[in-house]
């Protein structure tokens, strides 16, 4: 226990200092997310991703980028979630679960398409197992381009939702 405290003292703070606040979200989205009052519960949905975006999301919530300091928090069930982070092209098997996940999330719900695949199927456009982009299945509010996107970009999108 004591060694843990010693380590905490030795390492200190590793989070990068907060970059300037991003430009505000579009007015329609801002009106909806006002009810969240700066606190967004996030559920990730891997709709067919190569796992690259998942790694970057993991970094976004890690100690360096620390998305939690802006009020975003990963939860385990869409029942608890306000924000869905959808990654990957939506495969045939995941189209229905994604739709159900969207229905199961609490109001108001915000969908963020993370990565090029989720935005327009990217490399996998037209593949036989792909149903379409995330926007073809559920209404998308924000996009984070990149293959994979940088953690800072993901954090920036989440800051638009929380407004902090």
């Amino acid at each position: 226990m004591l060694s843990l405290f010693r380590k905490i003292a030795a390492v200190g703070r590793v989070a990068e200092s907060a970059p300037p606040a991003p430009e505000p979200a579009p007015p329609e989205l801002a009106a909806r997310t006002r009810a969240l009052r700066g606190s967004a519960q996030v559920r990730c949905v891997d709709a067919g991703s190569c796992n690259g975006c998942e790694i970057e999301i993991g970094q976004a919530f890690g100690p360096v980028y620390d998305a939690e300091r802006y009020g975003a928090r990963i939860v385990a069930s869409p029942r608890h979630a306000d924000v869905l982070l959808v990654t990957g092209p939506v495969t045939r098997n995941m189209a229905e679960p994604l739709r159900r996940t969207y229905e199961a999330a609490a109001e108001p719900k915000v969908v963020v398409a993370v990565g090029d695949c989720a935005i327009d199927c990217g490399e996998f456009a037209g593949a036989y197992g792909v149903e379409g982009a995330a926007g073809d299945v559920v209404p998308v509010d924000l996009v984070v381009p990149g293959c994979p996107p940088e953690p800072a970009a993901i954090v920036e999108a989440l800051r638009k939702v929380t407004g902090r």
């Binding site: 069930s77 869409p78 229905e96 679960p97 996940t101 229905e103 199961a104």
Partner: protein, 669 residues
């Protein structure tokens, strides 16, 4: 001269019981079930009334010299007998009301309906008996009628259960007969009053031997480990109302006998007696509940829970003996009162649970918890009432079992330091045993209720279950009211319990002032208050949420991880729920599991079929009984060499015997 009300109530009980029994034999099928059930219920009510009168302080004694040969019949009702009369009568009445609905389905079983009122009457007769021969007559009547009822189901399992029961109950009777007859011979009288007066002059060695025999005899009836082997076999095989009477009333009489003989006739005796009783009680409690926790047959689970509860009662009796012996009569009386209260509370919740299990069996045709589930939507009333019984059996505040176990713990915790290493070690161990068995009981009954009644049905039989009929629900309802009364206002029974403890022969002025003494140490707990606070808190939180909610509630389908449908195969079964416990107690219960993997014909890397089977045999039974059975069987086989059926050889034996006899007689002259 006006008649004694206790005698009148007993006569009414006996009359209605005989009417019920003969009615079942002669009446046409159309009205048989209703008439038999009605008069059986009246008989039970009268029996309970007799018990209640006895508990209110009335007594009754009679000698009927011509009713039976050899000494006639001695009867005596005091408050101690009253506890058991009241409990037995009430259980009998409730089971009879339930039976009206239960037997209508199996209307043709005339024999069961004729025998079971007689069985209940014999149960009422045991606590009334006031001489050795009367007690033994009643005891044997009880054993025979219950044996018929166990065998009534037919089938291989019932036959095996009947055999076990017949052998064990009669070995118990032999022990009892030897002990009580020895005691009567030493006291030169067979009436209980005479023995109690003369027991001071009997040598301690004889009294100790008598106590050991009586403990074995009564203990086997009370399901005391290691003499419990018959109980989880026999109780489930009988028809459900009869199971309820056996498990909630018959086993209690073992405790009655022990208290009557140990305290009433032998006046306490030595400390090692009660240490033995306490140790065996603690062992029964823990072993019984561990077996119940891993059991998947609903009625066997309840039967093992009976072993546990009777173990706790036995523990209470043992503790009373030790505390009385060490000069703490107050706590001794409290421990005995806790035991007697537990007799009543256990009877209430076990009646409810066994009758509920009977409804499930009636509705689905199976007792296997792994095949049940989903009964909540199909049998809502039964589920609710079973939950109330399960709460009682789990000994949580608000349940029926809580006040008595709490009282017992209090009496043990507040015991002053006792001299003697054995007692010093045993009392804390007993506290631990009570706590352990209470904790495991929670797991057991969460399993019974959760996997049996909630979630989705796991078999077609459970899917097509239907709610029980009116009389069955009425029986369950009465038992539930008794559970609630004992759970919420157990204090009202204090004067009656004080009288019963007095009648048992433990000297005490009265319980209330001692309860006050415990209050002074700050250990009271009002179950009524606890339940009221919990209910109020729940309502308050609900109201608060309603007031503070900013948006209306939205109905949504159950979250199934986005990949429907949810199936019954995703549920916990009784086996999987108990698996962690089975792992923890692996060394105690020694489960046998077998994994059978069949490979595909084409390749040994492809699996065609995986079969898993698991059995939890009763380890004590395996280690203790089977060697004895094998030895007896071997001896029997060896005896066939001696008696091989040859007439010549038998004539030779006779001839030799005569010669030997003549020689002995000649030598003796």
């Amino acid at each position: 001269m006006s008649a004694n009300p206790v005698a009148v109530a007993l006569a009414v009980a006996g009359g209605f019981g005989l009417v019920a029994s003969t009615g079942a034999l002669v009446l046409p099928a159309r009205i048989r079930v209703l008439a038999t059930g009605g008069s059986a219920a009246a008989s039970g009510t009268a029996g309970a009334a007799a018990g209640a009168l006895a508990l209110s302080g009335r007594t009754y004694a009679a000698h009927l010299p011509n009713l039976l040969p050899l000494g006639g019949v001695y009867l005596r009702v005091d408050a101690l007998a009253g506890v058991f009369l009241a409990v037995t009568g009430a259980v009998f009445a409730v089971a009879a009301v339930y039976g009206i609905g239960y037997f209508r389905g199996h209307g043709s079983n005339r024999a069961v309906q004729a025998v079971w009122p007689l069985f209940a009457l014999s149960l009422l007769l045991v606590p009334v008996a006031a001489s050795v021969s009367t007690l033994l007559y009643a005891w044997e009547l009880m054993a025979l009628t219950s044996l018929l009822l166990v065998c009534a189901g037919g089938g291989e399992q019932a036959r095996s259960a009947g055999l076990w029961y017949a052998v064990m109950t009669h070995l118990g009777l032999v022990a009892l007969l030897a002990g009580l007859v020895w005691l009567a011979a030493a006291a030169h009288t067979e009436t209980f009053a005479g023995i109690a007066a003369a027991s001071g002059s009997i040598s301690p060695a004889v009294k100790g031997a008598v106590f050991v025999l009586v403990l074995a005899g009564f203990g086997s009836k009370a399901g005391m480990v290691p003499l419990h082997a018959w109980l989880p076999r026999a109780h489930p095989e009988a028809p459900s109302p009869v199971s309820a009477v056996m498990s909630a009333a018959m086993v209690n009489l073992g405790v009655y006998g022990l208290v009557r003989v140990g305290f009433g006739l032998l006046h306490g005796g030595s400390r090692w007696w009660w240490l033995t009783a306490l140790l065996l009680g603690a062992l029964s409690a823990v072993y019984g509940i561990i077996q119940a926790a891993v059991e998947t047959d609903l009625k066997r689970l309840l039967a093992y829970s009976t072993v546990e509860n009777l173990g706790l009662i036995l523990l209470a009796v043992g503790a009373a003996g030790i505390l009385s012996d060490s000069g703490q009569p107050v706590l001794a009386a409290l421990a005995l009162a806790a035991g007697l209260l537990h007799v009543a509370t256990h009877a209430a919740f076990k009646t409810l649970l066994f009758l509920g299990a009977g409804s499930v069996l009636h509705a689905t045709g199976t007792r296997d918890l792994d095949e049940l589930g989903g009964l909540r939507t199909r049998m809502p009333v039964t589920t609710g009432l079973f939950a109330l019984g399960a709460l009682g059996a789990a000994a949580l505040p608000g349940g029926a079992g809580f006040p008595s176990e709490w009282l017992l713990l209090q009496s043990l915790i507040h015991a002053r330091v006792i001299s003697g290493a054995a007692a010093l070690v045993m009392l804390p161990v007993a506290v631990g045993a009570i706590a352990l068995s209470a904790g495991l009981a929670v797991a057991t009954f969460v399993k019974a209720l959760g996997t049996g009644f909630l979630a989705k049905p796991r078999s077609a039989r459970a899917e097509h279950a239907h709610e029980a009929s009116g009389p069955m629900l009425a029986g369950l309802g009465i038992a539930a009211v008794a559970c609630l009364a004992l759970a919420l206002v157990p204090g009202t029974s204090a004067p009656a319990l004080a009288r019963a403890v007095n009648a048992a022969g433990l000297y005490v002025g009265g319980l209330p002032e001692y309860a006050d003494r415990l209050t002074a140490i700050g250990s009271t707990l009002s179950p009524l208050l606890v339940v009221a606070v919990v209910v109020l808190l729940v309502l308050a939180i609900k109201a608060l949420l309603k007031i503070t909610a900013r948006a209306p509630r939205r109905a949504a389908p159950l979250w199934d991880c986005g990949a429907p449908p949810l199936t019954a195969r995703m549920e916990y079964t009784a086996t999987s729920f108990a698996e962690p416990l089975q792992r923890v107690f692996d060394d105690v219960i020694a489960p046998e599991s077998d994994l059978d993997v069949t490979q595909h014909d084409e390749s040994e890397y492809l699996v065609a079929r995986v079969a898993y089977s698991r059995a939890v045999p009763d380890r004590i039974e395996h280690r203790l009984y089977l060697p004895v059975v094998h030895t007896v069987r071997r001896a029997g086989r060896m005896a066939t060499h001696v008696a091989n059926g040859s007439v010549h050889r038998y004539l030779g034996y006779g001839f030799c015997a005569v010669i030997v006899l003549l020689v002995v007689l000649a030598a003796a002259r």
